[in-house]
Amino acid sequence: MSESGAPRVLDDAVWEEVVEATRGMAAPCFQCGVCTAVCPWGLVQAEPVSVRRLVRLAQLGVERWGEAIWRCTTCGACEALCPRGVPVSEVLLALRQLAWKRRSVPKGLSTMLWAVHWDGNPWDQPPSARTAWSRGLDVPAFTGEQEILLYVGCTATYDRRSQKVARSLARLLGASGVSFGVLPDEPCCGEAVRVVGQEGYLAEVVEATSRRFRDAGVRRLVALSPHCFDMFRTRYPFDGEIEVLHSTELLARLVDEGRLGFAKNVAATVTYHDPCYLGRRHGLYDPPRRLLAAIPGVTVVEMSSSREDALCCGGGGGRMWLETEAGERFGDLRVRQAEEAGAEVLATSCPFCVLCLEDSAKGLDGRLRVLDLSELACQALGEGRGDS
């Protein structure tokens, strides 16, 4: 029955199209509605997104999903609790694929894709400025000789705030003596392409980027952003040829091995925000916390929801390229949780999280600082401030 009460006839052609796009992933859903209950949109909207209904529509092949499919931040909160193991965000990304075919796509996303196509990054920045973030730092070009390719990612490469994270990470790697380099023509991982539902174009990006890594002789790659990390670890056909780590995994390992030590006290009460693509997506809850615990002087507190239950910052799933109305930003709730936990510093390890949370923290009159773990750790190196 449609909402108007009149019966709807299911369209076999659409149903087949939806089943093909979703690869049948919606089928196991038995409509318990846990997904709707835990979706963070329910925290900020009077009429929350009915995730259950979207999955049901996908099962039936009924095209009434509307703009709600573009709200999903792919945070995975629903997937963590789904008793049927439905990869809900994958289902929604498949519906986005169909929305492209019907030209029913929010403004701005085509422009973002063109930026990836013409400039090799979703931020519409010139490829010639790829290494500008490292100006004044000793960051060598990757030659194939070094142990590690540091994959900075488009956001930390071009966004001014996120560049500070990249600079801090480069300093930490330098201090640990690990041999690393960056590609001056670093190619885009394609995460932004994937999450807006452009599977076909993504295949082109993945092929080009894989080829560049193979040509460069990359054996081990450390990604700054959990989003790039997720792409390389699970969605690239490396077949074990390239080991993929997130920066917090590497840094925690360097601390454990005694290769990275901190001399300076950083007296601060710190809480850690789990980025969705490290925590729920990859179970990496502990390496960032080990790194945090190694910083002298830091008092760690946990927020009311953390680890598996962590609240999303709102920046995933392509939302960085879409406008989120004031009052509907998850980050506003997250920074309040941090404040309630008694934190002076909200630390995280994802450029999207830093940007979203810092934006929200502006409403707290400077009572809460938002830092990437690399920036915090850099302050403890004893070489002055993390970044200048």
Binding site: W100, S110, H117, P126, Q198, G200
Partner: protein
């Protein structure tokens, strides 16, 4: 309303931030520059595809350039254009806007059967903005320049809006017409990947295919003489950052502005 057959003239240009100026040859050094489809041409393609959705008909792409331009026309085909033509011949090289508009007009005549020609307002490398008008003159067609929107009225006239100081004007012209499209008036749709893998090949025509007068082609047919070119000096920014809470930063910024404006 009968279907509308549109030809969109596009140019492959070097990315602006990657070119340098060669004062010796008085040309742009684009040897190390990556290329792209001229941005307002992308808006023209989008406008043509949107008109086709409304009125039916066809969208053809036309470009003059070296053979390396062909893959860029494929991009336009993947966006939804029906066919693409590349005018490529050594005899076309060194053309100014007169010779370029002549060659493109000859290409349009060879495509034939057109109602509407769309061009970007200007190219990001040459920036003369003269080619669309030139094409209209060669073809004896009506023209609307710097259009922000286009529609075909029930009486078959083409209605275009253009921005003018303090407002906008609406111009109605009979078809066939040539229209130059303002940069940024729409969001060019991204490529359809199924089309990208299956789109028609680009048809390449040389001077011999067009029935042209060689005296009007390329360097020989170009009366324009470039007196001098030089690189504009980029202004050095002060790169000062204000520290503090948003409120403090706001106060500091107001102080700076007050001092600069001597209020």
């Amino acid at each position: 309303m009968r279907p509308l057959d549109t030809v969109v003239c596009v140019k492959v240009v070097p990315k602006p931030e990657e070119v340098s100026v060669d004062p010796e040859t008085r040309t742009l050094d684009r040897a190390r520059a990556r290329s792209e489809l001229n941005p307002p041409d992308m808006n023209a393609i989008e406008m043509a595809l949107a008109l086709r959705e409304r009125h039916g008909g066809t969208v053809s792409l036309l470009s003059m350039g070296p053979p390396f331009a062909a893959p860029y026309l494929q991009v336009g085909l993947a966006m939804g254009a029906d066919s693409a033509y590349l005018l490529s011949d050594r005899a076309f090289a060194g053309a100014d806007t007169l010779a370029t508009s002549y060659t493109l007009a000859k290409g349009i005549e060879k495509i034939g059967g057109w109602d509407l020609i769309l061009c970007g307002e200007e190219s990001s490398d040459g920036a003369t903005g003269q080619v669309p008008q030139g094409i209209a003159e060669w073809l004896g067609a009506s023209q609307i320049t710097f259009a922000t929107s286009l529609a075909v009225r029930a009486d078959g006239r083409l209605v275009g809006e253009r921005e003018i100081r303090g407002g906008h004007e609406v111009i109605a012209v009979p078809l066939p017409a040539v229209v130059s499209v303002k940069l940024g008036v729409n969001e060019p749709r991204f490529m359809d990947m199924e089309r990208r893998h299956s789109a028609a090949p680009v048809t390449v025509w040389g001077a011999g295919d067009l029935g042209v007068d060689p005296a009007w082609l390329g360097f020989e047919g170009s009366p324009t003489a470039v007196g001098a070119v030089w690189q504009a000096r980029t202004r050095e920014r002060r790169r000062e950052f204000l520290e503090g809470t948003p409120q403090e930063k706001g106060r500091l910024l107001a102080e700076r502005l007050r001092a600069l404006l001597a209020l």
